[in-house]
């Protein structure tokens, strides 16, 4: 999260309010953000999720991938049941005898890793194309934006289905699919703000100084296009996590050896008819919590970073 905040420091500098003494733009941003209690709660939620994912192997009660410690004898224990190894399964165990808490922590790591990883790649690709479209204009702009428009006219899930149905399963393939689905959003967002920035005097000044094109584009134009980009990036990570979970549930995403939250839910689905609800319910709640908190943060960022909405 800190990295994101640092970025806004650069981007939010041009906002409208007069700067009080001793107040940095970053401070002001934090104060604005904290005006909404829900948003603060969301940020705390995101921080908790990230910490759990980061320190997963150390806080997880058992290692769900360690085949030596997972025994089939423990399968489908009720929440609170004690496993053969003496560890209490707080949220029960799944059909293979894995502790649900541990499986969810590891699943969260995979879900977040895939979501954030694909988000970063898509961001790099999308931003490069979007900036080029805005800077060069003309034919380059027309071609890039036509491709973006056409892609965005299809729902994300359909594009992902086309790719995964033809390419097959695997973590690399799902990342490719998620990147291809997302890049167009970044390209469109950054082009929109870059078109405005391109006509500003500082770009003209930078060009007159004889700076190279890449330096003008990435060093001068990009930092000023950041605020809307941060909002879209936040929302897109949530979207990517959701899409990955959905695809994994359909059996098109990750292989069973690396169960993400979506795959855990899918695995629990077959046991639910016999009343063993916990295998599906708890990973779903974890997924829901992750996505809702990210969306709450993104929603607030949009309000705070949008200069038009500033008082």
């Amino acid at each position: 999260m800190t990295a994101v905040h640092d970025d806004t420091n650069v981007g939010g500098a041009g906002a409208a309010k007069p700067i009080a003494e001793g107040e940095t733009p970053f401070r002001r941003f934090l104060n604005d953000y904290a005006e909404s209690k829900v948003a603060v709660g969301g940020a705390v939620g995101v921080a908790i999720v990230l910490l759990i994912a980061l320190f997963g192997p150390w806080i997880s009660p058992t290692d769900p991938y360690d085949l030596a410690s997972v025994t089939f004898m423990d399968n489908r224990l009720h929440p609170g049941g004690t496993m053969g190894s003496g560890v209490t399964a707080m949220l029960g165990t799944d059909g293979l005898g894995r502790d649900m808490v541990s499986a969810m922590i590891y699943g969260l790591r995979i879900s977040l890793g895939v979501g954030i990883g694909s988000g970063i790649i898509a961001l790099l690709i999308g931003v490069s194309f979007g900036l080029c479209a805005a800077y060069f204009g003309g034919k380059v702009d027309t071609v890039i934006m036509r491709v973006v428009d056409i892609q965005l006219s299809f729902p994300a899930i359909l594009i992902a289905l086309v790719l995964l149905a033809t390419l097959g399963k695997g973590i690399d393939k799902i990342i490719v699919a998620l990147v291809l689905v997302q890049w167009a959003y970044y390209a469109r967002t950054v082009r929109g703000s870059a078109l405005v920035e391109r006509r500003r005097e500082y770009i003209e000044a930078a060009t007159c100084l004889g700076l190279s094109k890449p330096r003008v584009i990435f060093g001068h134009m990009l930092p000023n296009c950041l605020p809307p980009l941060i909002v879209v990036a936040t929302m897109q990570v949530a979207h990517a996590i959701l899409l990955e979970a959905t695809l994994s549930f359909l059996g098109l995403g990750l292989p069973v050896t690396e169960p993400s939250l979506g795959l855990l839910i899918a695995n629990g689905f077959e046991y639910m008819m016999s009343g063993e609800y916990w295998i599906s319910v708890y990973p779903g709640l974890a997924l829901l919590f992750t996505i809702v908190t990210i969306n709450v943060v993104g929603d607030r960022l949009r309000d705070v970073l949008n200069p038009r909405l500033q008082k």
Binding site: A165, L167, A266, F269, M272, S280, V281, I291, V292, N295
Partner: protein, 325 residues
């Protein structure tokens, strides 16, 4: 106008060609169809015979042209599993998917618009805040998980509604439909609500945003000054004006419902096209996978084309801008 339509048609054709290349390239070249079709104990001569009969010894562009030529005649090959033409299988399942999508659309509109108008008129009441919070939640919840939870509550715990299948169907103009029988309707409720949730959140937001904009317009003030009843102002003057964006977005989103029904159909074992796709991927039934993907992509290109052309008819600014650029 003609220039615009021709441009759009060309673009649609281009998209179809690119998509078919992608699907064809993915299914026929990344995977090895020979491995799929030849028995494990086949000798070299048998292998060669099959490769020859399928045209797999031809260069790539020849294979692709052959595939397109057949596809244009509606021949996408036979399903490995069902031994029936793939296209027929898809068309057989289509009514079920459309029924589900239309039911979901109706639910989204009938529930979403009143809630959205209310939230727009009384923006500060706690009810409105609840509605808006719920709609944010509607964007965030994983559809498949909500579906599973609905099955857990209404089918497993309460036992009120069935959780799988389509129930009894009756023929309506030769098409089997569920909603005309009690049993079919019971089967339809859960999947339709599940599929509707996302669109419901969207309709609420659109209706609320529209309402907040429209209530400040002069014609609403004038209607009020004329002494019209609040019911009439909301039901006629406001309603008509907020429907423009709602109808536009829903038209575009109908295709999205079809695509997204893959998820709902899988959860509720609804026998539509989406379920067929997921099953076919499970069986590696390539002709059906290709047929489904091209069919749905084609459907999309068609919907987008129709929307674009309709727009240009209704709003000349769109068309002029396009031709200029």
């Amino acid at each position: 106008m003609t220039v615009f339509v021709i441009r759009r048609l060309l673009q649609a054709a281009l998209v179809m060609i690119i998509m078919s290349l992608l699907v064809f390239g993915g299914v026929f070249l990344v995977g090895d169809p020979v491995e799929m079709l030849v028995a494990d104990d086949a000798d070299q001569a048998e292998r060669q015979a099959i490769i020859k009969s399928m045209g797999l010894d031809l260069p790539f562009y020849m294979q692709y042209l052959r595939f397109i030529g057949n596809a244009l005649q509606g021949d996408m090959g036979n399903s490995f599993v069902f031994q029936e033409p793939a296209m027929e299988l898809i068309l057989e399942r289509m009514p079920a998917t459309f029924e589900l999508a239309i039911a979901a659309l109706l639910i989204a509109v009938v529930i979403g618009i009143p809630l959205g108008i209310y939230a727009g008129l009384k923006a500060d009441s706690w009810m409105s805040k609840t509605i808006m919070t719920a709609s944010i939640l509607g964007f965030s919840v994983p559809t498949f998980w909500v579906g599973i939870m609905m099955i857990l509550f209404f089918a497993v715990i309460l036992g009120w509604l069935p959780s799988t299948g389509r129930g009894d169907t009756v023929e309506l103009f030769g098409i089997p439909v569920s909603f005309l029988t009690l049993d079919g309707l019971q089967h339809l409720i859960l999947p339709a609500v599940n599929l509707a949730l996302f669109k419901l959140s969207m309709v609420i937001r659109l209706a609320r945003a529209g309402t907040r904009e429209v209530v400040h317009q002069d014609y609403i003030k004038f209607a009020r000054a004329k002494g019209l009843s609040t019911g009439r102002i909301i039901g006629v003057h406001l309603f008509k004006n907020i429907m423009i964006p709602v109808v536009t977005v829903l038209g575009l989103e109908f295709g999205g419902l079809i695509a997204f029904s893959v998820v709902t159909e899988t959860v509720f074992a609804w026998p539509g096209m989406g379920k067929l796709l997921i099953d076919s991927i499970g069986f590696l039934d390539r002709p059906v996978i290709v047929a489904y993907l091209l069919f749905v992509v084609g459907l999309f290109v068609f919907i987008n084309l129709v929307v674009d052309v309709l727009y240009s008819v209704l709003d000349p600014r769109v068309r002029l801008q396009e031709v200029k650029s």
